[in-house]
Amino acid sequence: MRAVVDDFNRSQDRIWVEFSSTSHINRKLMLSIGGGVPPDVAGLFGNTLAVYAENNALTPLDRLAREAGIHGEDYVPIFWDICHHLGHLWALPSSPACLGLVWNKRIFRENGLDPDRPPASIRELEQINDRLVRRDAQGRLQSIGHLPSEPGWWPAIWGWWFGGDLWDGKRITLNSPGNLAAMDWISTYPRRFQSRELLSFRDGFGNFASPQNAFFTGRVAMVLQGPWIHTFIEKYAPPGFEWGVAAFPAADAATPAPITLVETDVLVIPAGARHPREAFAFIRYVNERAAMEKLCLGQRKFSPLREVSADFFQKHPNPHIRTFLDLAKSPLAKHVPPLTLWAMMESDMKQAFGKVWSGAAQPQPALEEVQQHLQAEYENHQRRWSRLADTLQRQWDAP
């Protein structure tokens, strides 16, 4: 991003952008807006837009985008969708990603599997999984094909590959049949391997960003990951590490299109920013093709723009970047629900997953518990939101 900021500063002499790299931006931006000293532009995670927007902490960009000739047709549809909430445009994308099945080709080959043929359904994934299980002389797990808890960053969304969803627009649907089927699948692991053994096996993994990463050491052959994995493979995996990327398989092999989670970092103008027009000039610059491709090449991501330069993929260091982009374009690509209680949902689902994973709870009661909790929280939130909604909508709709 720093290189793009420098380019922008060189490209004109009216606006100067000072780049500041900040950790925990989500919390710090909240405090800076609350304190009345927000930056003019901020980079956020797309899944936090709902909570910022509903707290009136962002500047709507509809009019500025219209004036600048920026339209939804310029983007891969899901990114335009992520940037909208309650009928308004709050951000433009900066650095996108999505998830796919990443597998270790060497392990496939060494076990008599076709290294270029990933599993096409959950059933196939489990057949491969069984084939790749290795134990030591004491019977302890040494390696496995796939482990839903590795790296375990998205415990809330397994239901998507089983036809489930987290929210239907009106109510929380964590106990829907698809989510229940996913939890049933999760519950097969402690039954097959003993939860204690699974915990002990996973305890032996090193940090994600280290050569001891279980995927790089071959202890886990298939993981759910995004395009950033390439950076870590280059840095930490053994030389000549062979890997492939495909859609993570759905439970139903006949699912018409790949299912994936799409995420993106976004650029926003915080409420109370002193130079909104200048801020938007910068956001607009980043969303021009040349700047966006420079940013995405630098961050090893794909571009969220519909049009991509002919040489973008040739220059891209990640050999599988086109696969990730295709996944993001899938009609079944999803983003996390635009709910202010997303963080709570993530935390609750992590607990439900943990209970089922350890064998402490059955899938249905585990999901019913979080469903009940989150539905009550959702209704509370809707009640509170109704006190502010009309006023804020009028304010955002004002010309």
């Binding site: 707290n55 009136n56 915990l199 032996g204 963080a343 935390s347 607990q351 350890s358």
Partner: protein
Amino acid sequence: MSAADLRRLGTGFMFIAPWLVGFLALSLYPFLSSLYLSTCDYSVLAPAVWIGPENYTALSRDPIFWKAAGNTVLFAMVSVPLGLVLSFLLALLLNAEIPARGFFRTVFFLPSLMPLVCLAVLWLWLLNGDLGLVNACLRPGLQTLSDLLGWHLSAPNWLQDPRFALAGLVLTGIWGVGHPMVIFLAGLQEVPRHLYESADIDGASRWQKLRHITLPMLSPVIYFNGIMALIGCFQVFAVPYIMTEGGDGPERSLLFLATYLYQHAFEYWNMGYACAIGLFLFALILVLTLVASRISSRHVHYEGA
């Protein structure tokens, strides 16, 4: 009040002004503010909307809050006595005439100087179920016991298993016994020698001297260390937060009131609810401190009192 009295009062206020300003701005105002905000729907950015006791009603029905409160109380109940006993025993040992006493005092005090983040990361590895040093030490003993008794005993997955996660955190806390140990040591040096000499003349045993001289003379120090440890335990945050990577631990076994407060304030944007949790925590610590003070009036002996 005469002009001279007023002048003296003004001078007095001038002397305490730095503290007074700090107290008003950094303690009283935030306290009153959170008292008000605990009765509001408040997210920091949207204007606070007064909702009466709704946050407290929700709190009373929130099972996660009660889980966090239970964990906090249990952690304090185990950690405080254990820490006090260990630090007291260490202080007794290091107060004895042993070779290289200064060296050992330094060695036992050093771990308590470690920053909490380093402590948490270090113990994450020490308590690792597969590769951790704690389990590497436990395994031979457990194996021997298993062979002897015919049981199948295995070392726990400390931070992954909800039955052991809290115990793992208690172990981590033991590294902090250096601070109370130093205070105990200072207290031990203050016990008048003539009391022990009189007891020796009367033929008192070591245990009797400990029971009837050392403990009563150290009671104000025990009380002080106890209260400080109690407050520290009720505010435990950084170490479990880092150990669980910002989460709650398995089955929320490492979720404490301070963590739950933080989650609501900065992750769920429920600052009003977080204020209600904060005030509950404040009331809990206040009540327990008052109870401890009441008990101390009977058992704490001040020299010269």
